[in-house]
């Protein structure tokens, strides 16, 4: 079958109506077609399994408060790295540095060897670090599809003259953007609400839409900030499945998450922060037996994650 996301097919046959009439084989083929049109197209200078992002001696101070204290870790290309720790450990601060929201007091962040810490925020996204937000931040008055197309625009170059005169590049980018955005909406499983305003979507759909918008920028590294917050157990499982699907499609993922079921279910490696310092770094099975981690969770603030760690051990 042809690529289902192309615009130049028969418009009478919508993706959704055609999905209903597919048998399992056709469905798998269809999903593969969607996944391949969503897969990253950018060439990375780093081989699979090598260091994609290096966090190097990162220190951040807000006045007297040291939010991050000499934190170093690597993210390898193709892995899902979990960044965990009790509340206030500095996880989101770390994300904010990685995406240029804050500047580090000292230390550096290197993506494929290039420093991000002096770059403008939108340049960092164009370089290849995209993120979602702990508290969902969509463009409320836009449709779901339009939200995702904004993400694809990060890779586009049309500006006012091109759009005003509708030059060929504008047409090419518009078409490419919409096709990619449609594929992404289907990839994250919300294509049926593409035409709805973002604010009108159910909570779970909004979270998925944020992921689609971030993926639309064709990131080399995708940062998910508590993507499972407020989800039911079923939704968490579906989300874990999606995160694994994103990795399998060729993306590298860093995830900040409190829910241990999600964290242990998807991550290949964990970095644990406590009071702004890194206290552990390794395979999830090792990390959760680490005495320093256990004491940070049990001895520190009472955290929702605590019982989950114990349960995981049982």
């Amino acid at each position: 079958m042809t690529d289902p996301t192309r615009l130049d097919g028969d418009p009478g046959e919508g993706i959704l109506s055609s999905l209903e009439h597919m048998d399992a084989g056709e469905r798998a083929e269809h999903d593969a077609a969607v996944a391949s049109s969503v897969a990253p197209t950018r060439v990375s200078t780093v081989a699979q399994g090598e260091t994609l992002l290096a966090v190097d001696g990162l220190t951040v101070r807000f006045g007297g408060l040291t939010a991050l204290d000499d934190v170093s870790f690597d993210v390898k290309r193709g892995e899902i790295l979990g960044l965990i720790g009790p509340n206030g450990a500095g996880k989101t601060t770390c994300f904010n540095i990685m995406t240029g929201v804050y500047r580090p007091t000292s230390g550096d962040i290197l993506l494929e060897g290039r420093s991000l810490s002096r770059m403008k925020r939108y340049r960092i996204i164009q370089e290849g670090v995209a993120r979602t937000f702990q508290n969902i931040r969509l463009f409320g008055a836009m449709t779901a599809l339009e939200n995702v197309v904004v993400g694809t625009d990060a890779r586009h170059r049309t500006s006012v003259p091109g759009a005003l005169l509708r030059l060929p590049r504008h047409h090419r980018e518009e078409k490419e953007g919409v096709e990619k955005a449609m594929a992404l909406l289907e990839f994250v499983g919300i294509a049926d609400r593409a035409a709805d305003k973002a604010t009108a979507l159910p909570y779970g759909y909004q979270r998925r839409l944020e992921i689609a918008r971030a993926l639309a920028t064709e990131p080399k590294l995708l940062c998910l900030d508590e993507p499972a917050a407020g989800f039911s157990a079923t939704e968490k499982d579906a989300l874990s499945e999606l995160i694994l699907k994103i990795r399998d499609d060729g993306y590298t993922v860093v995830i900040v998450e409190h829910d241990m079921r999600v964290v242990l279910g998807v991550t290949d490696r964990l970095v644990v922060l406590d009071f702004g310092r890194k206290i552990a770094d390794g395979h999830p099975d090792e990390v959760r037996r680490d005495p320093a981690v256990i004491s940070a969770y049990l001895g520190g603030a009472i955290d929702e994650a605590t019982p989950a760690v114990a349960e995981g051990d049982a």
Partner: protein, 389 residues
Amino acid sequence: MRERMHTVSHWWNAQSRPVQWAYMVPVVIFILALPVINPPIITTEPYTDFPISLFNAAVFALIAIGLNVVIGQAGLLDLGYVGFFAIGAYTAALLSSPDSELGVRYPWLVIVPIAMLVTMLSGVILGTPTLRLRGDYLAIVTLGFGEIVRLLADNVDPLRGNRGFQNIARPGGDFPDGTPIFSQTDALGFYWLAVIIIVIVLLFMGNLERSRVGRAWIAVREDEDAAELSGVPTYRFKIWAFAIGAAVGGLSGTLFAAQVGYVNNQRFDITTSTLYLAAVVLGGQGNKVGVIVGAFLVSYIPDRFQFEPTYRFLIFGVALIILMIFRPQGLLGMRQHLLAYGRQAYQKLFGAGAAVAPSGLSASSKARGDLAETTPDDHAGTSPRGGGE
């Protein structure tokens, strides 16, 4: 009734953009014919010449379209927009009036692109330092800009303050009977010109809206940080919004100066800026048709009620307040189409039968009504700004 409107809006949204424009042709023709028809109840005569009243409204509408880019789309509160209108008018004056020290008399058609470039540049100059500010701070700075322009007109000697500039260039051409098409006394030609300019500007604005540029503006309006962290170069596109808004403001300034033939420092005060803002808010921020309707009303109502000179601004004010209480989103709500291939994409997803109205179903449920309302608004009445000269 509501359901019928909904059906109509679905039908309208299912049409392709060229087809929609084709349907607009008779509407535009009607708008153009309005001053000739001079319909009894609608006319502003005998108090104000109807074509002049309509011309002023059309200039007002053009201003509102430009300001809508800045306020409605990019969400930047600009309280000094009259400054750009003034720069456009003064550029026309300096380049063509015999009173000008430049000593040149360029034809109007040459002046228009120059004036648009000059205002665009002034938009960039204003925006470069100030667009790092947000919200209230930006509003204050733009307010200051409007005042600076006015005070320059008052105090800089070559700008002639209150004495002003006479005999500003107007476009040429004669009617078959030998009378000039564009004259100070008969605004018919100027009105037609204004409507045609509005149509062209709307076409270009539509192009911008359905592109990366329009999406960037709306993204900035909705959540500037999230926009930047989604890869939108927010600062650059905010400056573009200022520059384009300014260029349209400058264009309307030259049009106005040409019709009146005279510019001095008396029409560029803060009240005028406020009325521009009122037109945009009243009609519906982020809705091009809406702001045209808003501009028409703001300009036309005081003209229409001129037989009641004592209370006409009271009537105007009360009407504004009532409207804002019952329609805080403006007459026509926000409405935008941000994808050049949006229609095809939604149809692909939901089947050909689905006429999808993205972004703002409530507003688009009036699609057909919009057109009817557009009609009067394009040839709206006189502005309270200068009255009908």
